[in-house]
């Protein structure tokens, strides 16, 4: 005879049955849930924080915008130095010997100098001081461009904003001071938001470029910090305002707060790996000795089936 395993097998039920109206139960459940939904929606509504644009960012923090644009060109922004899937500037995150991002490669190619600065400027009408500046940039060698970028990067602490202009006090930088000033003006007008979104043609629903540029600056993250949405604030679980958020993400965001994840440059990959393992463990609970024994040992079931056990004795 096959051995009965109490955590795997179920005893044969020989007891009684009771009338059960499944349709009525489902209908009552639906009515209750609909009423509860309407009540909660009426009481609390839902959040709708206005979207941030490059226009709002550059008007609120023009020097932060100009600095970010320079850093896109010198490769020090998060996007510029990201690696796959955007570029080859880094190798991407690893989980031990698994270099998943690197193996998949660059599938959403982005050149931050070209895509965030030069191409948008080239979409502007010709006939201003920008036209010869762009011509100078396009005609220059790679080494010359690099030297100009290095010069303006050193200028960053000194640049200032006055009467609608980004001013570079020091000499040098070639056409870049004109280009960065023009890009800031373009951003402040709202034209850069559109140029980055419609880069694919008339219709697009792909906001990759504009979102990456936004996230490289300080404005978006400052807004997030005031709403307690950043990583160290367990932001993944939170919603804007006082609304409850995504409590079910508690374990995912928890790992980011503790070592070794909290100090690792591969934190995202490691947390995903950990959560995948835990998810597989949850999936396979019926097959894991120990885990599948807790329900019987803890005896919580005696509360659920107390009437059944009372009738048995």
């Amino acid at each position: 005879m096959k051995r009965f395993r109490p955590d795997v097998d179920a005893p044969e039920y020989k007891g009684g049955h009771a009338p059960y109206d499944i349709i009525k139960e489902g209908t009552i459940a639906l009515v209750v849930i609909v009423l509860l939904t309407v009540l909660l929606a009426s009481l609390f509504g839902s959040p709708d924080e206005k979207q941030v644009t490059i226009k709002t960012w550059s008007n609120a923090m023009p020097i932060d915008f100009a600095t970010t644009a320079i850093n896109e060109m010198n490769g020090t922004t998060t996007t510029a130095g990201y690696g796959p899937p955007y570029n080859h500037a880094a190798t991407g995150q690893d989980i031990g010997f698994l270099h998943l991002a690197q193996w998949v490669g660059v599938r959403i190619p982005l050149n931050t100098t070209k895509d965030f600065v030069v191409t948008p400027l080239e979409s502007l009408p010709a006939g201003t001081s920008l036209t010869p500046a762009l011509a100078t940039w396009n005609a220059a060698s790679k080494a010359q461009r690099s030297a100009w970028v290095t010069t303006v990067t050193k200028e960053i602490p000194k640049i200032y904003y006055k009467q609608g202009l980004v001013v570079f006090p020091g000499p040098g930088g070639g056409p870049l001071p004109v280009m960065i000033d023009a890009l800031t003006a373009m951003a402040r007008s709202g034209a850069l938001d559109q140029a980055l979104v419609t880069g694919h043609g008339f219709y697009t629903t792909d906001y990759t470029k504009v979102l990456l540029f936004l996230s490289d600056g300080s404005y978006l993250s400052n807004q997030a910090a005031t709403q307690h949405l950043t990583g160290s604030q367990w932001g993944m679980m939170n919603e804007t305002g006082g609304y409850p958020g995504q409590a079910w993400l508690w374990l995912y965001t928890f790992w980011y707060q503790v070592p070794p994840f909290s100090s690792s440059s591969n934190a995202d990959a490691l947390v995903w790996g950990t959560m995948m393992v835990l998810s597989v463990a949850l999936l396979l609970v019926p097959f894991i000795p120990g885990l599948r024994t807790i329900p019987r040992k803890s005896k919580v079931y005696r509360l659920i089936w107390r009437e059944h056990y009372r009738n048995q004795t």
Binding site: A18, V34, L40, P295, H308
Partner: protein, 210 residues
């Protein structure tokens, strides 16, 4: 056509198999075991009902498009109902999960029921994420620019681009709901097929494996 020929048809064989395993009395039973006598049992149907409300409110939002709720009080109210029905959905699902764990509801050949439930839970999280990504407001801007790092780290970000609103919206309203509904149907059919798991046997030292 001979009877034998009709019996060999795919349609006939499938119908007989389905009707044999799931006769109408099993699909829509009018009795249940007497041990089903606890409030913990209502959270499965509550999750199902909440899913219905989530889908219905989602359909209402779809009628006027993804920008409607920013521009209209009615649209905003429908969005609020969509948000709160999602909160109720996860609330009921988690309580249902806790209850089923402490009942060891996988016993007696019900491990597939448990596993479809877990996959449903994970699918629901993915569906909720793509929903947050589709809000077209500050929240979706922040959530997507943060979430991209985790997804990019797995390599999936090269194909599942969370910054692509069109892609996220279509996953949210087409692909993931289809998966969720299919998995829900499978999960419910399994419960009807196998019945509700019996209580632990307290007095017997040896029982009959079912």
């Amino acid at each position: 056509m001979s009877t034998e020929q009709i019996d060999r048809q795919w349609t006939t064989r499938l119908r007989k198999r389905v009707a044999g395993k799931l006769p109408p009395e099993k699909v829509l039973p009018d009795t249940q075991p007497a041990y089903v006598a606890s409030w913990i049992y209502v959270f499965g149907v509550a999750t199902l009902a909440a899913l219905g409300v989530v889908i219905a409110t989602g359909c209402l939002l779809a009628i006027r498009g993804p920008q409607w709720w920013h521009q209209s009080y009615v649209g905003h109210f429908v969005n609020s109902m969509h948000l709160w029905s999602v909160e109720i959905f996860f609330f009921a699902m988690v309580v249902h999960l806790w209850g089923k764990y402490f009942m060891a509801a996988w016993r007696g050949g019900r491990s597939l029921t448990w596993m479809t439930g877990v996959v449903l839970f994970l699918t629901s999280i993915a569906t909720a994420f793509t929903g947050y990504a589709s809000q077209t407001n500050f929240d979706s801007q922040w959530i997507t620019t943060q979430a991209k790092d985790g997804i990019n780290a797995t390599g999936a970000g090269a194909y599942f681009n969370v910054l692509n609103l069109g892609q996220m919206l279509m996953w949210h309203i087409v692909l993931l709901p289809l998966a969720a509904v299919a998995l829900t149907a499978l999960h419910v059919v399994l419960v009807r097929l196998k019945g509700v798991v019996p209580p632990f046997e307290e007095n017997a030292t040896v029982g009959t494996p079912s």
